[in-house]
């Protein structure tokens, strides 16, 4: 089983955004891997393990698009356990979801993975498009916003559950396929490769952190650098961000001293109950 996972870097979401003159100032920002992509990496690793901490079978290739500095996030993913990295040169602010998907489609042509796993969205752009775009470009089936995934023992299909508006949908896809993961995917028993792990297999209820051994091993792992042109991808963004501004601030209201006062205010002042 060969799995391709994406890892986009995002500015630390806990840091306050510096917005001025219609632009976002990212000088001094600290960067980290998009949380949902980190979950995608965790998912890929579990799918190639004979249970928690067990022997690995298969290959996990991590791909990032961005400036050279993204190798830092890629190295972090290799330290978690991914086997090798691909760094595609790009200016992350100038890329839209379509361009990213087109580049990834070329990476897929080159790597021929059985499965592509992405985070369901990045927590900066919040677009929630790349996985679906990629599946559309490749003509592959897709399963988005996954809460669980189970690979069939024959490696030919994946059975997933997805949280949808109506409840939980169980969707089966033929491989190769593109899937995107939601936060539930890191639950103890959310991920399993039937060829490698039994029904009792379970993992920690979190994404794994790099061990010292993992960090040392990652130093020796390959990160291949490529340009979109070398992959044969043309990058012409279709969606341009013209300006970014802060939303109108919501003012803090009043403190109330008791439940009685709260209910009285909601009834008489706000008139909402």
């Amino acid at each position: 089983m060969k799995i391709l996972v994406t890892c986009k870097r995002v500015p630390n979401p806990e840091q306050k955004l510096k917005l001025a003159g219609g632009k976002l100032d990212l000088t001094g920002a600290t960067w980290q891997i998009n949380t949902f992509d980190e979950y995608a990496v965790e998912t890929a690793l579990r799918l190639t393990e004979k249970g928690k901490g067990g022997e690995r079978s298969g290959e996990v290739v991590a791909v990032a698009i961005g400036p050279k500095e993204v190798s830092q996030q890629l190295r972090g993913v290799l330290a978690m356990g991914a086997d090798r990295g691909l760094l595609i040169a790009g200016d992350d602010a100038a890329l839209d979801a379509d361009a990213v998907a087109r580049i990834l489609a070329k990476v897929v042509e080159r790597e021929k993975p059985d499965l592509v796993i992405l985070g369901k969205q990045t927590v900066d752009g919040d677009s929630n498009q790349v996985g679906q775009l990629l599946a559309g470009l490749l003509g592959w089936p897709q399963a988005t916003f996954l809460a669980t995934i189970r690979l069939a023992a024959d490696g030919k299909s994946a059975t997933t559950t997805r949280e949808v508006d109506a409840g939980v949908e169980e969707k089966r896809v033929r491989l190769p396929a593109v899937v995107t993961v939601d936060l539930r995917i890191i639950a103890k028993k959310a991920v399993r490769n039937e060829a490698l792990a039994g029904p009792d297999a379970e993992w920690e209820e979190t994404q794994r952190y790099a061990s010292l051994k993992g960090i040392m091993a990652a130093k020796k792992k390959e990160i291949k650098e490529l340009t979109p042109a070398e992959l044969g991808a043309t990058v012409t963004p279709l969606v341009r961000v013209v300006s970014l501004e802060a939303p109108p601030a919501r003012k803090a209201g009043a403190r109330v001293g008791s439940v009685e006062e709260l209910v009285a205010k909601l009834h008489n002042e706000a008139k909402v109950i």
């Binding site: 919040d126 498009q129 679906q132 279709l238 209201g253």
Partner: protein
């Protein structure tokens, strides 16, 4: 100039309320594009809802086929893209529901079209405003492709009223339908008598401070007393206290009710992104320094254990006096 296609979801014989919000955005966009609003409905037995959908659109294209029973992006996206061609459309609009989020980008890929997600304002033929960075920034975006695709945030557009005259209903020819080996094996529907989170006038949400799933029972009692919907923070969902479909926030549902009551929720950026648009926000938290108080209209520093039973009693008293 071209038509504006609106991807409408239906339930039984009626259009889904969520889609009515997309119709409003489509109407605005159709004025800019100088074409009609063409609704597209896809599924099995959806013909039954065509008459209702026609009340809101100038034309309705119906793809009704047994092979379209499940809302698969694999089958729906090509039909939507094909309908763009046959209708001569230059824009596609849908609501950012779980189906919309799944299908629309795939259709955009097939059309070579740029897409803006979660649009909150239409500013012209190809200019849109949308939130990014967990709602901490508003982005004005411009789409360069000849065809534009957008998903709209339901809470940002009012539900469309019926048009003066009902539109024409036409059967679309689905042609080859290939699910590419994808199938929906089953759906475990959430059974709830409560209003939908996205539609409710009152939402009561609990956070990590509720400590355990069973403690949400008291929030349910308050929710039902107020006739509202129950929500939760990502932290509470992550901890497995409640199902993830209750999650309000950047990665969950976006709500904008008349009244939002946040109980034992600290107010992480990602939660605020999902409820900042509410008309009146009440925060109940034992930590007076919690960030949720910075966006609350009414803040009460108290534990949920003491405040919620008292609140239930007080609301009951109010209801009794209103008789």
């Amino acid at each position: 100039m071209g038509a504006v296609l609106v991807f409408c979801e239906v339930s039984g014989t009626a259009i889904r309320t969520a889609s009515l919000h997309a119709v409003t955005a489509a109407r605005t966009l159709a004025t800019a594009h100088g074409g009609p609003v063409v609704a597209v409905i896809i599924g099995q037995g959806v013909g039954a809802a065509a008459g209702d959908v026609a009340r809101y659109a100038d034309r309705v294209l119906v793809f009704d086929d047994a092979r379209l029973a499940a809302p698969l992006a694999e089958t729906h996206a090509p039909l939507l893209a094909g309908a763009v061609k046959t209708a001569g459309a230059t824009a596609v609009v849908g609501t950012a529901t779980s189906t919309g989020k799944d299908v629309l980008p795939r259709a955009a890929a097939l059309l070579g079209a740029g897409m803006a997600s979660d649009v909150i304002r239409v500013d012209g033929t190809n200019k849109f405003r949308r939130p990014a960075y967990a709602g901490n920034a508003l982005a004005d975006v411009e789409i360069a492709s000849p065809i534009v695709v957008i998903s709209v945030r339901q809470t940002a557009f009012p539900a469309a009223p019926p048009a003066a005259a009902a539109g024409q209903v036409e059967a679309g020819a689905p042609g080859t339908i290939d699910a590419l080996g994808a199938e929906v094996v089953g759906v475990h529907a959430t059974q709830s008598a409560r209003p939908d989170l996205g539609e409710a006038k009152i939402v009561v949400s609990g956070g990590r401070g509720m400590k355990a799933g069973e403690n949400f029972k008291i929030l349910e009692e308050l929710t039902d007393l107020l006739g509202g919907a129950l929500g939760a923070s990502r932290a509470a969902c992550d901890a497995g206290m409640v199902p993830n479909d209750l999650q309000v926030g950047q990665t969950g549902k976006i709500v904008a009710p008349q009244l939002y009551i946040a109980v034992a929720i600290s107010g992480a950026i990602q939660h605020l992104a999902g409820m900042k648009g509410s008309k009146v926000i009440v925060a109940i938290n034992k930590d007076g320094e919690a960030p949720i108080f910075q966006v609350a209209d009414y803040g009460l520093v108290a534990t949920w254990e003491s405040a919620i039973p008292a609140l239930i009693a007080e609301v009951k008293k109010l209801k009794a006096s209103a008789g």
